[in-house]
């Protein structure tokens, strides 16, 4: 498929899902009438549902999804490993731990920026730890082992906090938060995450040639004029900012960063540079779709988006492993 056509199709998909996300819910809103109502009478029920409930939810879904897809593609390109993704190697759980510590002590009430900041520090430290553990050339085994170890460590610390949670209610809050969710988010949440998200995305601008050169290994890339150390740091900081902000806002939404680049890679002829923008679009589409999904699936209590992406993502991941095994024979 031609690259421009792929970008156009994915953009159309994201736009469709975004608009659907505004329309679908407990109270279906005909989008055109709702938009007109919001313009004329901002205090009407329809206007409030659209601008204060649906719109922030859709905007956050869009940007968090794009961040997850983008970070996954960047990390896979950097480590030249299709199994590398921020959630699998522990960056996301690091971010989650940072946020949970703040939530546990209730510090965010005093200073709202503390929640994304703690998440960013968590993502930064875990990603840095992964880079230190795996060294310059990350073989699959080392990478997965390091990821398992870090995920286990972060998981244990989160369990400790849950264990010590002052009330069952607080515990439930913390658990739900680790599952990833987009409900009850406000425009304030969106504005809080936006600057860090954009900063992370900006750091990833112009890294395409570097990722391409890395297809030939780190040493050849550096003889091709790529500053490999700087490239590493850029991606590390981008993940810390964008993923940290995303996890602080929605909790952990798993498997998007792994599955989306994996699915789209053959469609861009395995070009790690072109994979970045299409993964951002694909990630946005997947999270928006999953968030629509949880609203459509009838259930007693609200389903969490992260649960749905994991339920769809994990079997898909197994399928990918099986397929790649057959292809290698």
């Amino acid at each position: 498929m031609r690259y421009s056509l792929l970008v156009a199709l994915l953009s159309a998909l994201v736009l469709t899902l975004f608009i659907s996300s505004l329309m679908i819910g407990r109270n279906p809103l005909p989008i055109w009438q709702a938009a007109q109502a919001s313009l004329h009478d901002t205090s009407s029920i329809v206007a409030i549902i659209l601008t204060e409930i649906r719109l922030p939810r859709a905007l956050i879904g869009l940007s968090v999804g794009a961040t997850l897809g983008l970070c996954g593609a960047a990390m896979q390109g950097l480590l030249r490993n299709p199994l590398a993704s921020p959630d699998l190697i522990g960056s996301a759980s690091g971010a989650a731990l940072g946020a949970i510590i703040v939530l546990y002590y209730g510090w965010q009430a005093n200073f709202s920026y503390l929640l994304p900041l703690a998440s960013m520090v968590g993502a930064l430290l875990t990603t840095l730890l992964i880079f230190v553990l795996t060294g310059r050339s990350a073989g699959i085994t080392t990478l997965i082992l390091a990821g398992v170890a870090i995920n286990a460590l972060m998981g244990a610390m989160m369990s400790l906090l849950l264990n010590l949670a002052p009330s069952p209610y607080a515990m439930r809050e913390l658990v739900l938060w680790t599952l990833g969710d987009l409900t009850d988010r406000s425009m304030d949440d969106f504005w809080l995450m936006l600057p860090f998200t954009v900063l992370g995305w900006l750091l990833l601008l112009g890294i395409g040639h570097g990722l391409r050169a890395l297809s030939l290994g780190e040493q050849t890339a550096s003889t091709l004029g790529v500053q490999t150390l700087w490239l590493r740091w850029r991606i590390l900081l981008a993940i810390a900012f964008a993923l940290g902000a995303a996890v602080a806002t929605t909790g952990m939404i798993g498997f998007v960063g792994l599955v989306v680049p994996h699915l789209l890679r053959p469609l861009v002829q395995y070009d790690p540079a072109r994979l970045l923008p299409v993964s951002a679009l694909g990630g946005a589409a997947l999270v928006l779709a999953a968030d629509i999904g949880v609203r459509l699936i009838p259930s007693e209590s609200t389903l969490q988006v992260g649960v749905l992406t994991a339920l769809v993502g994990a079997p898909f991941f197994l399928h990918l492993i099986l397929r790649s095994r057959y292809e290698q024979i």
Binding site: H209, L214, S215, G217, T223, L224, G225, V226, Y270
Partner: protein, 256 residues
Amino acid sequence: MLIHAHNLSFSYAQQTVLDDISLSLQAGQLIGLIGPNGASKSTLLKLLAGLYKPQQGDIQLLGKPLSAWPARERGRVLAWLEQQGAIHWPLSVERLVALGRLPHLTPWQTISAVDEAAIEHTLEATNVLHLRKRSAQTLSGGERSRVLLARALAGQPRVLLADEPIAMLDLAHQLQIMQLLRDIAQGEAGVIVVLHDLSLAARYCDQLYLLQQGRVVAQGTPPQVLTEALLRKVYGVECAIQWGHIPSITALYPVP
């Protein structure tokens, strides 16, 4: 002078890997680095490519210290071909070879007509034009070596440092690639190549550097370096050497 290396020493984990090596590459020269396994030929090449920094000595590339070159500018002048280099994604041969043009592009630039022409030319010269649409991961060992060489040549470097480029090739392709290196090493460009085949080294190279345990044991034209006594001393093998229109060096038996 393309490359001038002076009194290079390099140690790794408190072990001296290269000891007091001087080497120079002139335009139009094809230099062969030969020597037994573990002689640090590849390490020397990596030093010359700027991948490692020597603890002692200095390297000049086109009269300017190697470390003073901005990375991308250096990439346009000097290409390094890794021994059995990696290909991490199943890119098409064409796209893989195009990576050699990266030093000529700014971060947002895409391949131009000039780049296309250079890629086309190298694909042809390395005899892989018919593979251009193939996925790099479906290539045979020999095809892969030639594609990776094409990648290194696509940037049209003045200096090519090639680490065993013919190790995986059949007889016909060995001759073809050595002739190609010979053709490249003329005019303004020069080539340093690590070789194990001494007959081909004798036939194609202008100068040979014979390395043993990180030191240059002998250096000069092929007849100066490839003597029975020296090969016996360095490789521990008795050899039969015939100098003719096409030189041939045959290993006979290990020295007891």
